[in-house]
């Protein structure tokens, strides 16, 4: 992405190109589903139920692994035993990557706010883009979360996202 780092896309003439890149990215989100608890069933309903059908929004479920995913949906309770695995999977995803935290448990602990074994919010370990409230949220709520994320991707400036410390290999 050398062009991006040089700031080529910031020139006014190349604005449409940024728009096109973002437009293509937002309608081909490969979603790695991280079904943990009750919300996984509602996520499954959103993905395979003919009534909701998440694929019409351009979200492609069931990639073979986190290496092929753009988006991860944390649906359900993250326990302290599970948290290292969540972090490890998130780190395997290629940049740019997005996180949807689905349900009260992933947002803040939910009904287990005083439990000894539950991580109170997945945002303690990985950065979250969209929070979906509910216990569990309806599949429609997940669809709205996806639409919000797509709006965010469309308005994103890739140069801003990529500016930072250079990646050093070796």
């Amino acid at each position: 992405m050398g062009v991006v780092e040089k700031g080529t896309f910031r020139k006014p003439a190349l604005k449409p190109l940024t728009w096109l890149l973002n437009y293509s990215r937002k309608y081909s989100l490969w979603m790695y589903q991280w079904g943990l608890a009750c919300c996984a069933i509602e996520m499954g309903a959103a993905m395979v139920s003919p009534r909701y059908d998440i694929m019409r929004l351009g979200v492609i479920p069931f990639p073979a692994g986190p290496r092929q995913a753009d988006l991860i949906c944390i649906s359900g309770t993250v326990t302290d035993k599970m948290a290292p695995a969540v972090l490890r999977l998130y780190e395997q995803m290629p940049d740019p990557k997005y996180v949807i935290s689905m349900g009260s448990c992933a947002n803040c602990g939910g009904p287990y706010w005083d439990s000894y074994s539950v991580t109170k919010g997945v945002d303690q370990i990985i950065p979250v883009d969209v929070y979906i409230p509910g216990c569990p949220p309806r599949p429609e709520a997940l669809l709205e979360g996806i639409v919000l994320l797509q709006q965010r991707i469309q308005s994103e400036d890739m140069a801003d996202r990529w500016r930072g410390d250079p990646i050093v290999v070796g």
């Binding site: 991280w34 079904g35 943990l36 608890a37 009750c38 996984a40 069933i41 509602e42 499954g44 309903a45 395979v48 139920s49 003919p50 009534r51 069931f62 309770t77 326990t79 035993k81 599970m82 695995a85 999977l89 009904p111 287990y112 005083d114 439990s115 000894y116 074994s117 539950v118 216990c135 569990p136 309806r138």
Partner: protein, 389 residues
């Protein structure tokens, strides 16, 4: 551990094949780790299997990735708050989790819900069973490589969830049961809609019976795979459809006297003598159809009257101990409630079905082949919240 006859035969056959080829096939042991995030484990179960070639020689289940500490949390909640919590143990049949807990509290308080409330409870219980097992039928197909049943299952499951939502306001977690009765009565027009939905459930069962159970590949992959003899099943504490598929005629809905509507109904407990994966699928499919007929009977014979017994405004349960268990969709689920007269229980032991159902896996997976691991996991049918609580 004793090997089944089939496991022994498979081992002898593999040795004989090596002898015929005049080679000694010795392979390095390989450890195969399935999970904690694997689609076939339906959540966060981890199975560690040591393989000799294609055969499992040792397997173990690592659970606890979904442990949320229910038993400790019940000690700091009041009785009406606990129904919210126990909903989420077996998240596919939430209402069925509330009922034994509420019955245990009612047993300690020595009150009984009015007949109409008992009937509505049983109706919602059976609807939860249908919603649960419908998903099993779909995912069992998906795990064996047939993707169509999942779409059918989710399509027809929505009809049941609609009916549950119309009464309780929640698709998943109704939180509808109260000590001494129910929160609300049935809405207008619900009975006819539910009858229509039950007709659809029976159509779904017929459809899947032809589509999946009549399929030659499905039969080849499930018949004779994962055989649980009845004595092994009993010694590991299996319950529900898993033990009924091994030929044990045991159903807590019929075998005990609870203040619920099952005793008034005309129904049958389905068993299968084989004990293999196919039998477990078959029994669950028959149970779904039976449950839809039970709901029809209860809707016809729904008594009139109040839905709430007289209870004090602030619920205090007198000191004592009570154990109530019911036949949940996954098997026997029970609550042992110890009360010291406070607003909440002093201790609450939760017996959930899936934990015992997966405990047989180390025995069952020994001698199985790698593709059959998935069949066995799918046919045992566990829910992670129910294992780890």
């Amino acid at each position: 551990m004793a090997l089944t006859e089939q496991q022994q035969r498979a081992y002898v056959a593999s040795q004989a094949a090596d002898a015929r080829l005049n080679v000694e096939l010795q392979t390095e042991d390989m450890v195969l780790n399935i999970g904690p995030q694997h689609p076939a484990t339906h959540g966060t179960l981890r199975v560690v299997a040591r393989l000799d070639g294609e055969q499992v020689v040792w397997a173990d289940v690592v659970c606890g990735y979904m442990h949320r500490g229910y038993e400790k949390l019940t000690e700091v909640r009041t009785y009406p708050q606990i129904t919210t919590l126990v909903n989420r143990i077996d998240w596919l049949s939430s209402f069925a989790n509330e009922v034994p807990f509420i019955l245990a509290a009612e047993k300690l308080m020595e009150i009984e819900a009015p007949p109409r409330a008992q009937y509505i409870r049983t109706i919602l219980f059976e609807l939860a069973r249908i919603a649960n097992i419908t998903l099993f039928i779909g995912t069992m197909g998906a795990d064996l490589g047939a993707i169509t049943p999942v779409f059918y299952a989710f399509r027809d499951r929505e009809r049941i969830l609609n009916q549950i939502e119309a009464v309780t306001g929640g698709r998943f977690h109704p939180n509808f049961d109260r000590i001494g009765g129910l929160k609300d009565d049935l809405p207008r027009g619900w009975i006819d809609e539910t009858k229509n939905a039950m007709v659809r459930v029976r159509e779904f069962c017929d459809e899947l019976e032809e589509l999946l159970m009549g399929n030659e590949i499905f039969q080849a992959r499930t018949r004779g795979i994962g055989v649980i003899p009845s004595d092994i099943g009993l010694s590991y504490g299996l319950s529900g459809a898993n033990i009924r598929a091994s030929g044990i005629d045991w159903d807590l809905r019929r075998d005990q006297d609870l203040p619920l509507a099952w005793k008034d109904l005309d129904w049958k407990v389905w068993t299968h003598p084989d004990g293999d994966s196919f039998a477990r699928f078959w029994v669950r499919l028959q149970e779904t159809r039976e449950a839809s007929k039970m709901v029809d009977q209860m809707l016809d014979g729904l008594p009139a009257g109040s839905i709430q017994a007289k209870v004090p405004r602030i619920i205090k349960v007198p000191a004592g101990e009570a154990w109530v268990h019911t036949e949940n969709p996954l098997g026997e689920m029970g609550y042992y409630v110890v009360s010291q007269g406070g607003l909440g229980p002093f201790r609450c032991k939760i017996r959930s079905a899936s934990f015992n159902n997966v405990s047989v896996l180390p025995w069952l997976l020994r001698g199985a082949y790698v593709p059959d691991i998935i069949t066995i996991l799918a046919s045992l049918y566990f829910i992670l919240g129910d294992i780890d609580r």
